[in-house]
Symmetry: C2
Subunit: 306 residues, 2 copies
């Protein structure tokens, strides 16, 4: 069996309010990773700016970009210059009043290989994403690139086994999550630890359940609340790469900016799935309740209308 390796570069960055500066630093790091042999580079969620969803402010929509547009031209150029496949995470302006949290994947020649619009949108204190982003309408479609078939999702999607499973059933070879998650300063150290562990566990489990490697790239460092209405967010970094049994191939620190190139064997999935053939034994006849909001008695009545 030919051992197919994807040399995957990840960039865990501490962003500032200097958007041009953030982009410039990303550009320099991508160049470094490409020099180190990366054929794929994955950036964190909404990597151009501070995490602006800490507050609801209509003027923030000015940050959004059309796709394609000036910003995709910027990253297209970087992908082409460095001859890499590049996974970016942008604030998409689709129409006036219609915005998305969108991953754009660039081919080595700079063309857009595909886009994914974040399907699950969170909303909790400090993460007011339902204000900014309409739920995605791309579905869970892997993006075909010259280095492999990429199951790209975004942040909150990472908590949903359904998305990972559908990407796997559609042939994804690698699951990728650009993300932005941090500690609530009001939580105890124990609670912060439980949350970070849960975040790691659920993503490693997508690797296990589907026999696929997982790449998760998170931002790092403190970002103050824009109006000082809360204590801001300390993003916990901990970007990581797991193999198809959920085993760690690489883990970044919790505090520091970091870049790394990680060798991911795509062939290993074939081996792992032969040992643990979960896809063979799925009880698809018994899963229809997955398509319900809640499978209590009220919703079962409405089954007949499906």
């Amino acid at each position: 069996m030919h051992n197919k390796i994807i040399k995957t570069g990840i960039i865990q960055q501490h962003n500032t309010d200097n958007i041009a500066g953030n982009r410039e630093r990303l550009s320099e790091k991508i160049e470094l990773l490409a020099q180190q042999g990366a054929g794929l580079v994955v950036l964190q969620e909404l990597h151009d700016s501070l995490y602006f969803c800490q507050t609801e402010n209509t003027s923030t929509f000015d940050l959004a970009t059309e796709i394609p547009g000036n910003i995709t031209d910027f990253y297209s150029d970087i992908a082409r210059r460095n001859h890499i496949v590049l996974v970016t995470s942008l604030f998409e302006r689709r129409l006036a009043g219609l915005y998305h949290n969108t991953a754009v994947v660039f081919e080595k020649d700079g063309n857009i290989a595909g886009t994914y619009r974040k399907m699950h949108i969170p909303d909790d204190p400090g993460y007011y994403e339902k204000f900014y982003f309409a739920p995605g309408d791309t579905g869970f479609e892997p993006i075909h690139t010259s280095i492999g078939t990429l199951g790209v999702m975004v942040c909150w999607d990472q908590w949903y086994p359904e998305g990972a499973r559908i990407m796997a059933l559609k042939g994804a070879e690698l699951l990728i999550y650009p993300t932005a998650i941090g500690y609530d300063a009001n939580d105890t150290a124990e609670e912060q630890q439980r949350q970070r562990e849960a975040w790691i566990t659920i993503q490693r489990s997508h690797a296990v359940a589907n026999g696929l490697p997982v790449v998760s790239v998170n931002r790092v460092g403190f970002e103050p609340h824009p109006d000082n209405h809360s204590e801001g967010i300390l993003f916990w970094g901990n970007s990581f790469v797991a193999g198809p049994q959920g085993e760690f191939l690489y883990q970044c620190s919790n505090e520091k900016e970091e870049i790394a190139v990680v060798d991911i064997s795509i062939s290993r999935s074939e081996e792992v799935r032969r040992w643990w053939p979960y896809l063979r034994d799925r009880r698809i006849d018994a899963y229809p309740d997955i398509l319900q909001r809640c499978a209590d008695k009220n919703s079962r009545k409405s089954d007949k209308n499906r």
Copy 2:
């Protein structure tokens, strides 16, 4: 918010070929756990005998029991005497030539609260379960008991996020997996470690994804192959209880028999689900491909026939 606690007893046992002896030891341990305050006791998979699926032998079907029958009478009596809810795992004879791997849950008064027939059936070297067990037809229905609503599944089910999700959507308050899993003696120590870690990770992830505690009870110790055709199985124990963020509440050793009573807060799930409202944001409109064997082009054509 009233803090509802389920005091949960678990029994990790090393079985021998002395079936009456295995049962007697279970009975004694259940009594001990009840004396220590357990209101629920969970046994490992197929706890009466050696793990007989190491080989395919038609005479092994003699071990199977009708439900209800002599064996359920035995456990019913134990549940009633100790005034506990008891989760057992039995080899069910349903009809001549039709057998299941069935969990039977007994109420404190000894009545059968409900049964669950293992839905996902494995088959790999040393685990020839497809020979012995027809796939379950109960679906993923939680069992209502006086101490709570139990999402009981069995072993191989634990690798499937779908089963856990459906149990949660149907109101399960606790996920329970009696199980029997061990090392392949031919694997390297690193591979054995990866497999055990994957097994822990996937089950903790069901806690995380659904905001539910998880109880997993595994057998422990070496069981030789009945005809010495292979090196037998060293069952890795490591029974554990996780809270609704996947955090460990208790972990047994890998080598030894063990019993424990673990306090599981059911109220904690309500709190965790308010912080992390995954159930609110599920994209049920985008999940239909979950119901397919594979979501490649061939299967999509057949969609029209569904």
